[in-house]
Amino acid sequence: MTEVIKAKEPFRFYTRMHLSELTGLKASNLIQLLELIKRVPGSCIYHHTHRFLQQHQYLSPEPPNDFAYWVTEILGEDELGEKLASIDTVEYTSIHALRQAISITIEGYLEENILAKLRFARSGEEFYFIKSISFIVPTSFVVYDLNSFEEVLKKITMDSIYFHIFEARLRLERKNNDFSNWLENSLGRVKLANEISKLDPYTRTLDGLKNKILELINIYK
């Protein structure tokens, strides 16, 4: 029987619930969209690049972000929609960098497609900017080793997994997801931590992501 390695620091699971705050800001065309993307709070950019992932988790893989969806379905700019949908969110470790990538993509498209400036959304179909307000609550689950970590992971809510994978890395700018951070720094499980880090969580359902992490734990246990 292998010896159970105890972590230097325990891992506490948190959960995260969110509320959508309206801004009253809306865009009818690409110029307005771009201008607002550049100046709205980071919580808006976060909301519109992650909302679909949470609300439509059963539709993944590759859920579009709100910008891509609106540009495609409402403005009919399929090519730009595809470019926005394929922005590799996992490559960015801050909202600031993600915002820039989105802005540059739209600017580049507008330079090459001048007529795109003339397309307007119908009344009522404008892009409405919304902020994501996160409420982070500690759960009662605290673990010291890989086995207990695995057991809790099996039963924890999707909101908790969402918080530790997406919100911690990008919104709290921890550079890496919480699971990999703990596995590497407190438990010394570098390989497992790296494998989880390498996953692109944006191309999976939350349920699929959870199963993949459990599968990796089993391989590296």
Partner: protein
């Protein structure tokens, strides 16, 4: 009345545990809901279910109702209509009547809550009693295109609240106070949405002489021009040219609404064009609505204007493919081609109905996606969670709140 644990088999224990976590953070605070009626209407319906559940979770919640005479409610109905964009003559006398009743309530209704939660325009002026407690105004009306004179009048009160809540992003405006998006919800355990035995569904079909020998298209709505029942018949007739099917238009009686009666007459006249059109004047009977939705092959909601359009959520909850207009809160419930089909015109509606009727596997997938979307986002449990988060937001101004 359902208990909170009755929802566990539907949404899972972890969702209910999260509600308990939030309720713990609200211990010691008293929430007071205020609206204009204890029975009838969507607001009363939701409060009747929510208030007991919040109390059961441990959030001390009370509910009070303002008083107002016939004249006051006639004025507030006019306000409601013009906020929806309808044109009506609003006079100075109307505003005087509104303020007279409001002043009576200001003097006679005690606002004792730590959080006072005011629903809709009728009690809005109570904000003039605000002391150091927190006040929320919840707008259930589509105010995307309101009559500005009335909206400006209401704004005098709105800006005194701590926060406002709207049902759809398109209802929001630039405001000097915080505003949140909270959609209404359906209760999966209510008569309108609970599972029904096949015998009940068959009995309802028999009662209305509907034979299931061809696909059924249904719209559940009162006979109101904004629900476009005549347009539904026209779309159906276009479909009927290619696919043998039947149409059910079912809604509440319109006996107290002269315009509704006129619409009903037009619908009856139009329905003579096809023998497979069933016009059902239903009394308030949630089980029958439930049965008709469950017996249908496709649900249509071809509204010209909608507050939120909960009939769409009801249909999706029953895994039905839905064709619906892209108005009000409907696009929140349906992502085009993911969880249903959105339309902008009569021809579009007819085309999409044909698509569903000729592609059952596609229709089934849309219905299943829709069901999951409603389960994740539009059930009463989500509504409870967001209301508790809303209460907590009154005491936290930041975007990331650690509780």
């Amino acid at each position: 009345m359902a208990k909170i644990e009755d929802y566990i088999p539907i949404v899972g224990e972890s969702v209910i545990n999260d509600l308990r976590l939030l309720a713990d953070r609200l211990k010691g605070r008293l929430v007071q809901h205020i609206n204009s009626t204890a029975v009838g209407g969507g607001v009363a319906e939701i409060l009747n279910r929510m208030v007991p559940l919040l109390n059961e979770l441990g959030v001390n919640t009370k509910w009070d109702v303002i008083k107002g005479g016939e004249q006051f409610f006639e004025v507030t109905k006019k306000f409601h209509n013009v906020l929806h964009g309808r044109i009506e003559n609003i006079t100075k006398q109307d505003f005087d009547i509104f303020m007279e009743a409001s002043n009576y309530n200001i003097n006679n209704l005690e606002t004792y809550g730590d959080i006072v939660f005011v629903h809709d325009p009728q009690p809005i002026a109570l904000i003039n009693k605000k002391k150091d407690n927190k006040w929320i105004w919840r707008c259930h009306v589509d105010v995307s295109n309101p009559y500005e004179v009335v909206w400006d009048f209401l704004m005098n009160f709105i800006i005194k609240y701590d926060s406002a809540v709207f049902s759809a992003p398109s209802f929001s405006r630039k405001l000097s106070i915080r505003q949140f998006l909270i959609s209404p919800s359906i209760d999966p355990l209510s008569d309108k949405n609970k599972e029904l035995p096949q015998e009940i569904i068959e009995a309802v079909l028999n009662k209305y002489k509907i034979i299931r020998n061809k696909p059924i298209i249904t719209q559940i709505s009162r006979f109101d021009r904004l629900k476009d029942p005549v347009g539904v018949i026209e779309a159906y007739l276009k479909v009927k040219k290619h696919i043998d099917c039947q149409l059910v238009l079912a809604g509440g009686s319109a006996s107290d609404d002269p315009e509704g009666l006129k619409v009903l007459e037009e619908v009856m006249e139009k329905s003579k064009l096809d023998q497979d059109i069933h016009i059902l004047l239903l009394p308030q009977n949630d089980i029958e609505v439930n049965a008709l939705q469950r017996a249908s092959d496709v649900i249509i909601q071809k509204s010209l204007k909608e507050g939120f359009g909960l009939t769409v959520a009801e249909a999706l909850w029953k895994k039905k493919p839905v064709v619906a207009s892209n108005v009000g809160g409907i696009p929140l419930q349906i992502k085009h081609k993911y969880s249903g089909l959105l339309c902008h015109s009569l021809d579009g509606a007819a085309f999409e109905l044909k698509q569903f009727l000729s592609s059952p596997a596609y229709a089934k997938k849309m219905g299943e996606n829709g069901h999951q979307h409603i389960k994740d986002n539009y059930l009463l449990t989500r509504h409870l969670r967001e209301y508790m988060l809303l209460f907590l937001s009154l005491f936290h101004k930041e975007d990331m709140v650690y509780l």
